[in-house]
Symmetry: C2
Subunit: 259 residues, 2 copies
């Protein structure tokens, strides 16, 4: 799930601001409480600077301490901004009825996600009502190269752009995950041709996903997918899901044409 850290270069940055968000991302990446020394060795900031920074964030409620006051973790205040991103997003708002309809038509789990660096971020989900269903949550990040959503989005970039986004070797999540960037790029050509992507248990064993990009900007930023346990899949059902996805894509294209 390599979090990209874009543009370290390029002009002077406000140091404490960089550290503030790096610190928040550190805590977010490792739930639970952490000592100052632990954070210090991980991030490499001087102890005293880190101490002041932590004290400030604790006072603001963005970082919390345990009863002893010496172990730190992410605070309640951080919740606020994350959900606001979703609430204010025009694409999420415009996609709502289409997602509902897609969920009804397929009765399977539906995702709307956005490409951020080499990851996709879930913006909205509709849970399958079946007992057997994938676990997901808004805000979750997954590698683009192992998901149908990510592959559908990467396919709207040129091969060279994809080479800039992804490293040469890709981290495997299952035995089916593409681990070679160039092999993945060949697959992207196929995706462009037929208009949708498929994830054959590349992210989760037992789960097949179908993804399609929303073309309101190029390269595309958002995509929708439908995830189905292989146990429930038949050729006929697969065709049905593909049709529903294409129809959803057309509706979404209309709903987002003003963006």
């Amino acid at each position: 799930m390599a979090l990209p850290t874009p543009a370290d270069a390029g002009g002077s940055q406000v140091k404490s601001a960089v550290r503030t968000v790096e610190l928040l991302e550190y805590f977010a990446g490792r739930p639970g409480m952490h000592s100052l020394a632990e954070v210090q060795t991980s991030l490499g900031y001087p102890k005293s600077s880190l101490y002041m920074l932590l004290r400030t964030l604790v006072e603001l409620g963005w970082v919390e301490t345990d009863a002893t006051g010496t172990r730190y973790g992410i605070g309640v205040r951080a919740l606020l901004v994350g959900t606001a991103y979703i609430d204010g997003d025009e694409v999420v708002a415009a996609a709502r009825p289409t997602l509902d309809r897609l969920a009804e038509e397929t009765t399977e789990t539906i995702h709307l996600a956005r490409l951020d660096g080499a990851d996709v971020v879930y913006l909205a989900t509709r849970q399958s009502q079946h007992y057997l269903r994938p676990f997901t949550r808004v805000g979750r990040r997954l590698p683009a190269h192992s998901t149908s959503l990510g592959k559908a989005l990467l396919a709207t970039h040129s091969d060279d752009e994809v080479r800039k986004i992804l490293p040469e070797r890709l981290a495997p999540l299952t035995e089916h995950t593409f681990t070679d960037r160039e092999e993945l790029i060949e697959e992207l050509a196929l995706i462009r041709e037929r208009g949708y992507s498929v994830d054959h248990e590349e992210n989760t064993v037992g789960l097949r996903c179908f993804g399609i990009a929303i073309p309101y900007r190029t390269p595309a930023r958002d995509a929708v997918s439908c995830s189905v346990p292989v146990a429930r899949l038949t050729p006929g059902r697969e065709q049905q899901i593909r049709d529903a996805l294409f129809e959803a894509r057309d509706r979404l294209t209309l709903a987002t044409r003003h963006l």
Copy 2:
């Protein structure tokens, strides 16, 4: 939904860190895109300082700009940390089975929330399966004084502590909302006595909620509630819900005794 800004006083703070989170909270509070000048007049920072800060946060993906690059809004990266707070929380994890069971027993909307200043923050919800149901989302904030959750939590504080947390005049959300702090404090005495709180359409017209605090620390930090449209309420059903809540409280007390 007065966001508390605790402890402005007390020791030197890292200025850029304070501004960073204030800026994020600003964007979170006003979804959509905003010009530099607009933010500048609202927050009162010098233009040039704000400019540098924004540029830094844009590079890091925590703030996004529109196509022109001159209008700013909250970025994808902010999503990450918010959801992490929930994922890492021991109370949320420990409460999961109890919430599921409570949702099944009552078939109504269930909330787990935490007190933060004068607000409550939703940490987990179980949606009612009925067609008529309240709209909620994890991360949402509501005033403590107008919710059963908030009142159940405030009741575990002493009257003087409540006077420190709440202002004298309370903002009304419906015609039933308590607007006088001292009147609310009288109600809190009643809540302590009977062990649970009731919100009689004080937050949303047509909705009655029952709340109960989880006593794993004093004063309590978290509470659970059950929200029911008045149209579906009968005396017998109300009794049933109260019983289920008390049972849930006992289960949660057990599940959180190690915290």
